[in-house]
């Protein structure tokens, strides 16, 4: 319950300044550009393929429009996640408000979970802004709502994973830039790591990377292992963050 109060406070804080709004503007605009890109490519392909009935039959909005769009959004998430997470604890350290938080009647778990949920709430709003394009497809065609749902589930889980990792980095340093660079490097590495082992889908590098667990989610197939990967990833970094905060109590 106290975690939710902290989450609400975090979310509210994001919109009391112009920065939160501007982040949404950037997120929405970039998503719009990416959507226009894949949308135009799909429209052109579907026009050209009237001469190739077999290929036209293979062309579907899920695999050939939504999945590439989700893939593009994932890049934005990897870029934006660390930036959103970098201030979660570093800012508190810098402004010396963290001691106040530690002495308040909340547990370490409440603090960590509250801050994470607040950031994730903001991330969910950012993702909602990007949904304008995909939802407009119901006007132009017949997209699969299941693919939309699983795609956004994948993006939310990715956002959660990047935020949890960024929050952990933020908990270790009061320098926001250090937190940003550390978590961004790690997120980017996890994003591109899968490319080294793509010859073998069971290679541990593929298993470790984000991308290998997003491909299926982006086309409407929800795998238990993919969801577990992200949940375990988030859980691990939240726990590591809590341990770090706990260590500050006894220092």
């Amino acid at each position: 319950m106290k975690a939710l109060t902290i989450a609400r406070r975090e979310l509210h804080a994001a919109f009391t300044g112009a920065v939160g709004w501007l982040v949404l503007v950037g997120f929405g605009f970039l998503a719009g550009v990416f959507f226009q890109w894949v949308f135009t490519a799909y429209a052109e392909a579907s026009t050209e393929l009237v001469f190739d009935p077999y290929a036209a039959q293979q062309l579907d909005l899920g695999d050939h429009l939504l999945a590439p769009f989700f893939g593009d959004l994932a890049i934005i998430v990897v870029l934006a996640g660390p930036a959103l997470a970098m201030r979660l604890f570093s800012e508190e350290y810098r402004t010396r408000s963290f001691e106040l938080l530690l002495t308040s009647p909340v547990t370490t778990g409440d603090i960590v979970l509250g801050k994470f949920l607040g950031a994730l709430g903001f991330a969910a709003l950012a993702l909602a802004v990007t949904a304008v394009g995909p939802l407009s497809l119901f006007w132009f065609g017949d997209p699969d709502p299941g693919v939309l749902a699983s795609g956004y589930l994948g993006l939310t889980l990715l956002f959660g994973a990047v935020l949890a990792m960024g929050m952990c980095a933020s908990a270790w340093t009061e320098n926001q830039i250090v937190a940003l660079v550390t978590s961004f490097s790690a997120a980017l590495a996890l994003f591109i790591l899968g490319m080294f082992g793509m010859d073998d889908p069971d290679a541990w590098l593929v298993q470790l990377a984000f991308t290998g667990h997003l491909d299926d989610l982006f086309v409407g197939r929800v795998g238990l292992s993919d969801v577990t990967y992200f949940v375990a990833f988030i859980g691990f970094f939240l726990f590591a963050t809590a341990q770090r905060i706990e260590s500050l109590r006894w220092r």
């Binding site: 919109f15 407009s136 298993q207 238990l224």
Partner: protein, 561 residues
């Protein structure tokens, strides 16, 4: 002078960095790489030197309260990591997935499940694909789905550019992907080009089946050469496609050899000269005996054969189908004698179940089913659009439908029929049955004129029309298409032509389970220039603009405060 202990931490960092680099390098290129060994040496030397030089400070840290608590914390974090990895490994082992798509495109059809579950012995799948190709991913997903229903599928991924010698042995010539399903006894099926579930199901069923089907390809009447894979009009491609599915295809000179009982299906492909009365009788006898005939007959050719098909209830028109469908014009087909059939033109039937794309026929004639025919059950499988008609006088200008003569709108061009009562074919009761009983000498016309080998006078072999010991049996099947071109080398790859031909043969030999459900159709976009621009405006201007207004409003409010 600077104290050496002031910079000893640098050694520790170098050693640590080398250790991490060695770990990463091992993961990427393996531990055999000499650089890994060099990095490990640097790590050991660096960390060792640091520990040696900075031992007092390290010992002090180790004895501190912070280190004790920190070590406990680190242990807990490591434990949490282990729990996370174990949870993932368990979930991965369970291999549970949910298909959220409304068409269940990531789930095997019932036929796919049955095909996989029906495998009795091990089947090696040699998958020849370029790494990281989209097609490889798709096929990999499908094979994974099959693998969930059978332990007998052993997949080996091969790269045609890396394993050149093996590729040659498997006759893999392209980079577009080849799948070879191979049983231990060597029986195999190949899938090339398109890798949808229907094709994979068919290949699995065929490789698992021990059934052998013999297709007799009639020759001697100017038919397309079954061995010719190069000329546009040849039949080599379609014969290869049949052989790829384990059909035994052999040419049969019906005039000389008759039609023997081993011919499960007789293919009569575009005879340019007519069949003799005796051969026609042999064809009827084949169907009356419960076997099958597949006739592809172009406009104006083989009038006697065309007329005789009426005995089975199939009415072959003496006409040319002209289709002025606007959709065809949009497809770039400006010649109305080319008939392009789309989804709506295919009647519901086992043959058309998996035909999602168009069928392209060359110059076709009408083939209709006679509803009044008792003792047989037929269906007009393919019908043109409403904008077509069957022109009976194509040489007379102006070319337009002759009212009351030409059939106008939705002209049928293919019929499938099952003979329930073989007596309707009149094999035993025909007036010339007595003549048929005696050995006949076919005339040159009967043998197909100049294109057939005419026996020398005095050496005429006994004609083998209705075979001796002919016994009528119900269940004979016949498929008649008013066009050959769709199966020719030139047109076979267009649309679903290849699948139409193979499905017809599969239906004729009663292997309907080789024909999978129709795959979902592609998604089009109902897009205009205005609606596209409107979407761009909303996405790139309106939504970001509204959010920017929120930012401005907040900034102004804060300034007022």
């Amino acid at each position: 002078m600077t104290s050496p202990s002031r910079w000893t931490w640098l050694l520790g960092w170098i050693g640590g960095l080398a250790a991490v680099s060695a770990g990463l390098l091992t993961a990427v290129v393996g531990s055999e790489d000499p650089t890994v060994r060099q990095l490990l040496i640097v790590a050991v030397v660096g960390l060792g030197a640091w520990a040696l030089l900075d031992r007092e400070r390290i010992a002090g840290q180790l004895r501190s309260r912070e280190f004790g608590l920190g070590a406990g914390s680190a242990l807990l974090i490591a434990l949490a990591g282990a729990v996370a990895v174990a949870s993932y490994a368990l979930a991965d082992r369970l291999e549970r997935t949910w298909d959220w798509t409304s068409n269940a495109v990531h789930t095997l059809s019932d036929q796919g499940v049955a095909a996989a579950a029906g495998l009795q012995g091990d089947v090696e799948v040699r998958a020849w694909f370029r790494p990281r190709s989209r097609e490889r991913d798709r096929v990999g997903d499908l094979l994974e789905l099959y693998g969930q229903h059978t332990p007998h599928l052993k997949v080996t991924w091969l790269d045609p550019l890396s394993d050149v010698r093996q590729a040659e042995m498997d006759a893999v010539t392209g980079l577009d992907g080849t799948l070879i399903f191979r049983r231990a006894d060597g029986r195999q099926q190949r899938v090339e080009g398109n890798f949808d579930e229907a094709r994979l199901n068919r290949a699995l069923l065929m490789v698992a089946s021990d059934a052998e089907h013999t297709v007799c390809w009639s020759v001697g009447h100017g038919e397309p050469d079954p061995d010719d894979t190069t000329l546009p009009d040849g039949a080599g491609s379609v014969v290869l496609a049949l052989e790829g599915l384990n059909y035994q295809v052999r040419p049969v000179s019906t005039a000389v050899d008759g039609i023997d009982a081993n011919c499960e299906v007789v293919v009569v492909a575009r005879p340019t000269t007519d069949w003799s009365a005796a051969e026609r009788e042999a064809l009827m006898a084949t169907v009356a005996a419960g076997r099958r005939a597949f006739v592809l007959i172009d406009p104006g050719l083989a009038p006697n054969l065309a007329a005789d098909l009426g005995r089975m209830g199939v009415r072959v028109g003496d006409d040319v189908v002209l289709d002025f469908n606007a959709g065809n014009m949009l497809l770039g087909v400006n010649d109305p004698s080319f008939v392009v059939l789309s989804f709506g033109d295919l009647m519901p039937h086992a043959v058309t179940r998996d035909l999602g794309a168009a069928i392209v026929l060359g110059i076709a004639r009408s083939v209709a089913w006679d509803d009044t025919k008792a003792g047989a059950k037929g269906l007009e499988l393919l019908r043109t659009s409403r904008d077509a008609w069957a022109e009976t006088t194509p040489d007379v200008d102006p070319v337009q439908p002759d009212v009351g003569v030409d059939r106008v709108g939705e002209v049928p061009v293919a019929v499938v029929a099952t003979i329930e009562d073989p007596t309707i074919l009149g094999i035993a009761t025909r007036p010339d049955a007595a003549a048929l009983a005696a050995p006949l000498v076919p005339t040159a016309a009967d043998l197909g004129g100049a294109t057939a080998a005419v026996p020398a006078l005095g050496e005429a072999p006994a004609w083998k029309g209705v075979p001796e010991g002919f016994v009528a049996a119900p269940g004979g099947r016949v498929a008649v298409v008013g066009d050959w071109d769709f199966a020719s080398n030139q047109y076979l790859a267009l649309g679903n032509n290849r699948d139409l031909f193979l499905n017809l043969v599969a239906w004729l030999v009663e292997e309907e389970d080789q024909i999978a459900e129709r795959p979902p159709e592609g998604d089009g976009l109902d897009l205009t220039v205005v609606s596209g621009a409107l979407l761009a405006l909303v996405e790139l201007v309106l939504v970001p603009g509204l959010l920017a207004m929120g930012a401005v409003a907040v900034a102004l409010r804060r300034r007022r405060l």
